[in-house]
Amino acid sequence: MPYEIDIDPAWGAAIDRIIAAGAPEQGLLNENCLQRSSSLIQILEQTQKEIGYLPENVQAYLANKLHIPLSEIYGVTTFYALFNTEPVGKHTISVCMGTACYVKGAGEIVAEFERRLNIEAGQTTLDGLFTLEPCRCLGACGLAPVLTIGDQVYGRLTPADVPDLIEKYYLPTKGEST
């Protein structure tokens, strides 16, 4: 067909792998159309893990492969907080905004990050290093206030801890590039 989705072939191949991998393991993508849509969230999650975010061409590619209208995929990706349609920073700082953290000053932690990184919650720093993302309760209320950077959980924080945390992730990255 003369129209093709404008996508990096490496991304396309990665998505093909994810879709194919979903099939044998979970009995997905069989003749049963219902099962196919059932795997959509899984596939989106893995695609985002691989590519980092879910831009328009990626979603169109998925729509085409899975025979699901693009509007439906987009409806799903904008419904769930986990999915990003814009690129995110190398490190996502997720500050828990659960009740326990809130009553123990999570708002001040967010404010301190906003001030130090010069961005607002939900934004990414210009150098693409950090995304600041208030998030839902992480269930680590015993350590309130908590945040995660990548897979690492940090607890019992005060605004004074913020500069150290930024430095911890900022320096190694800079080191790599030089």
């Binding site: 129209y3 093709e4 085409n64």
Partner: protein, 643 residues
């Protein structure tokens, strides 16, 4: 698709009590349907019978004995012994509060809204008695409002998202009935917005401009691209010779805009109305429909006899054609190359009519009145524009008015429509056969074409019984016709894109095989078109009979008394072939009456890859998107060149 309201064959019934009245209803009923049977009209907003039954607006809430809270009547099933209250002070207060909440996120510019007086939200405020206190100046709950950008880029459909009340009717009709899914629900909560993916314009996505979304929108959030101003301007311009063509189904539906019940034929008033608007000539698209039958019929015979691509699929419905180009490019070579009646008429108005009457085609302003929004898109297809270095771009059709727009013009002109004198259409393009008029309903094209094919090839008159199975409103209808001289022909008639898609998939998988298929994008065909008068949710509930069935009755009533039965017997058709076109599929008719199609992307993120064109069929010329076509992700061009 449609759920029958009174199904007498249901033996399972239950006894329910609604506002103290006992009534026995089928067990399949909802509380809303049961209440209606008991003579109680519960107010609704998001509910649209058979299309949108999701209980999201919460206007139809009722109290049910022994159940906590309030429950939406529109989707709550009945059960034996159920006792329902629909009109307590608590319910009235709650409904009012809900309505006030909806209004708090609605522009409330009713006086200058196109839907003023036809808005279902407005009707509801009246029904629920919503009034501000004399000394209070605003409704309660003022706060942040949804502020979404307008989408005016499509040549056919405008989206005014700030007026949207998120009832999701348009999403349902687009996704479930038409099975396209150009519109969806994006984001969530207060920020949710009904729009194409990634906030694209309808012009950039796979929208086929069928306008079914407009037909179901309760408010003014979706509407056709209004071309009234251009038409008024052309009429007022003394240098312009304004000709107007009226599509067959318009005569079956225009009356609804003037308060008549669906199913009231008003064809006799139309010519006089248009003349009073000030147009110079009033013609009938049925004439062009007859011409389409001639060309398409002969194309079919040619394909059948000379090994052309089969099945051949009709191309009168521009929404269907666009759908095919987006989603089933492999069927493009199956589309009849015959132009639609509108475009045949448009091409002839500026050639045949201009030449035989000594009028400079550049002074002709050609208007069509259509039941269709996709016709607005169709008239802007590149093949229907004559590009000229000296005279500028010349459109075969300069403006398309929906039935709604025509009604607005008639009202603006102060014409008392129902008291107009009966007048005929103008010659030489004002006479259509019964077959041509029946184009307005699903199956009409197929029936007309088959009759002409039958009689031209066999020289015998066709038995009308043979085609009866093609009538009706079943989603897919089939027939096998033995045509002397051609052999057996399997045909199918489909309406509604969802049904069409199912059929195409069956053909692809080899499950079904036909030689000739009629596809109409809109459910019911043109009588259910996206440019037809709006039928509100309560109106759809108020009658047991589907409004489209009633419109088909009106169409048949219009065609019944016509002296001419068959397209090939139309003397005006005979004359145009004798005087001008020579014969069907002649070189001249190829030039004027046939067209070609092009593949279109499904997603804005698709790009054109040159050299991937597969087909060598000469009728299938792939036109790359940089030839400014609407609906291709390019910004829409001005609706017509400056006169």
């Amino acid at each position: 698709m449609e759920k029958s309201v009174t199904n007498d064959t249901d033996t399972d019934t239950v006894l329910v009590t609604i506002d103290g009245q006992e009534t026995r209803v089928p067990v399949t009923f909802t509380v809303l349907e049961a209440a209606r049977q008991a003579g109680i009209m519960i107010p609704t907003l998001c509910y649209l019978k058979g299309i949108n039954q999701i209980g999201s607006c919460r206007i139809c809430l009722v109290e049910i004995e022994n159940m906590r809270g309030l429950h939406p009547a529109c989707i709550h099933p009945v059960n034996e012994g159920m006792a329902v209250k629909t009109n307590t002070p608590f319910i009235r207060e709650t409904r009012k509060t809900i309505l006030e909440l909806i209004l708090s996120d609605h522009p409330q510019k009713c006086l200058s809204c196109q839907r003023n007086d036809s808005c279902e939200l407005q009707a509801l405020t009246k029904q629920l008695g919503l009034e501000t206190h004399p000394d209070g100046d605003t409704l309660p709950f003022a706060g942040e409002t949804s502020d979404f950008t307008l989408d005016l880029a499509s040549p056919a459909i405008e989206r005014l998202a700030d007026k949207c009340i998120k009832c999701r009717r348009c999403v349902s009709v687009c996704k479930n009935i038409q099975q396209i899914g150009a519109l969806g629900v994006n984001e969530r909560g207060f920020n949710s917005v009904i729009a194409p993916a990634f906030g694209r314009s309808l012009d950039e996505v796979e929208c086929i401009t069928c306008g079914q979304c407009i037909n179901v929108c309760p408010v003014g959030a979706l509407r056709e691209k209004d071309e009234i101003a251009n038409v008024w301007q052309a009429i007022a311009d003394p240098r312009k010779h304004v000709v107007i063509q009226v599509a067959p189904s318009v005569r079956a539906t225009l009356g609804e805009e003037f308060g008549l019940a669906p199913g009231t034929p008003v064809g006799k008033f139309i010519p006089a109305a248009l003349r009073r608007l000030g147009v110079d000539k009033v013609f009938d698209t049925s004439f062009a429909a007859d011409l389409t039958v001639m060309e398409e019929g002969h194309e079919f015979i040619d394909r059948l006899q000379n090994g052309g691509n089969l099945p051949m699929i009709t191309s009168c419905s521009p929404g269907w054609v666009k759908y095919c180009e987006h989603h089933y490019p492999e069927f493009i070579s199956h589309l009849s190359t015959a132009k639609s009646p509108q475009q045949m008429f448009g091409a002839l108005a500026k050639t045949y009519y201009a030449e035989t009457n000594g009028i400079d085609p550049n002074t002709i302003y050609s208007v069509s009145v259509m039941p269709c929004t996709a016709k607005k898109f169709e008239r802007q297809r590149s093949d229907h524009i004559y590009f000229s270095e000296t005279d500028g771009d010349r459109f075969d059709v300069d403006a398309v008015l929906t039935v709604r727009e025509l009604a607005r013009m008639i009202k603006q002109a102060g014409i008392d429509f129902l008291r107009l004198p009966e007048q005929p259409f103008d010659a030489p393009m004002g006479m259509g056969s019964k077959a041509g008029v029946n184009f307005g309903a699903t199956g009409g094209v197929m029936e007309a074409a088959l009759r002409t094919i039958y009689e031209t090839t066999s020289g015998q008159s066709a038995d009308p019984i043979e085609f009866l199975s093609l009538r009706g409103l079943e989603g897919v209808r089939e027939a096998h016709v033995d045509i002397p001289g051609l052999g057996g022909v399997d045909v199918a008639v489909v309406h509604g894109i969802g049904n069409a898609r199912q059929l195409l998939e069956k053909i692809k998988s080899g499950e079904a095989d036909y030689q000739f298929i009629e596809i109409m994008a809109c459910p019911g065909g043109c009588i259910g078109g996206g440019g037809q008068p709006l039928v509100s949710g309560p109106q759809r509930m108020s009658s047991d009979e589907d409004y489209r069935t009633m419109r088909v009755h009106a169409l048949f009533a219009e065609s019944q008394d016509l002296p001419l039965h068959k397209s090939h017997d139309n003397p005006d058709i005979k004359r145009i072939y004798e005087q001008y076109l020579e014969h069907p599929l002649s070189e001249k008719s190829h030039h004027l009456l046939h067209t070609h199609y092009q593949e279109r992307p499904q997603y804005a993120a698709q790009k054109w890859i040159p050299g991937l064109t597969e087909t060598e069929d000469e009728d299938f010329i792939v036109v790359p998107p940089w030839q400014h076509e609407p609906g291709m992700g390019e910004p829409a061009q001005p609706s017509h060149p400056v006169p």
